[in-house]
């Protein structure tokens, strides 16, 4: 009972997250400006971290968790660098 219930919920959640990533990718391609693309990239990143956590529940392994942590860490650094680049045109001054 609980296995079937969880299996369906996990599948549905994965599909929803994939659709969310699709929306973010469309915005990434549409733009129109650089800040829209950076925002879409951040959304894509968070959705990917959530997808990894759902994968972790599906497989019952906690290794996906570390990947999710790494994605959020790298995503933050990338966002800060990109925001800085948009402001000054240089990443390191």
């Amino acid at each position: 009972m609980s296995v079937a219930l969880l299996a369906w919920a996990v599948l549905l959640a994965q599909l929803l997250l994939l659709a969310a990533m699709g929306c973010a990718v469309v915005r990434l391609l549409l733009g129109p400006r650089a800040q829209d693309r950076v925002l879409a990239l951040d959304t894509l990143n968070v959705n990917a971290a959530m997808l990894l956590l759902v994968f972790g529940i599906r497989t019952g392994s906690s290794h996906y968790f570390e990947a999710a942590l790494l994605i959020t860490l790298l995503g933050f650094v990338a966002m800060v660098a990109l925001a800085k680049f948009l402001m000054r045109g240089e990443v390191i001054e």
Binding site: L16, A20, C23, A24, R27, Q35, S62, M87
Partner: protein, 117 residues
């Protein structure tokens, strides 16, 4: 999903609902990114996923692993704390950068810089 066979039905139900809530919020946020016009309105959309969205997925993950391994799993709290601290900072920086660019290019209706009022 055979590893979840020991999970009680109530817990499976709660985990399933939390997962669907989180994924649904992420989808609505990303959809808002597509639908809302203008950058400053779009900034608000992903916050859905980064607050309650990832929060409920993390809660589902914590409940799931805590009950299966019969020990309390604290890992997820790290991601939660990290997200709470970093996403506002990143969004603020991005909004400031966008405002700066709009002021330099004098495009759209953005408020003037503080010194010139």
């Amino acid at each position: 999903m055979t590893h979840a066979a020991d999970l009680p039905v109530w817990a499976a139900l709660v985990v399933a609902l939390l997962l669907l809530l989180g994924a649904g919020l992420a989808l609505v946020g990303s959809f808002g990114l597509l639908r809302l016009p203008g950058f400053y309105e779009r900034v608000h959309a992903p916050t859905l996923g980064t607050t309650l969205g990832i929060g409920s997925v993390l809660a589902a993950s914590m409940l799931f692993f805590s009950l299966l391994q019969t020990r309390f799993v604290l890992h997820e709290i790290l991601i939660a704390v990290f997200m709470v601290v970093t996403t506002p900072v990143a969004l603020m920086l991005l909004a400031r950068a966008a405002l700066y660019r709009d002021r330099v290019e004098r495009s759209g209706a953005v408020p003037p810089p503080p010194g010139s009022r």
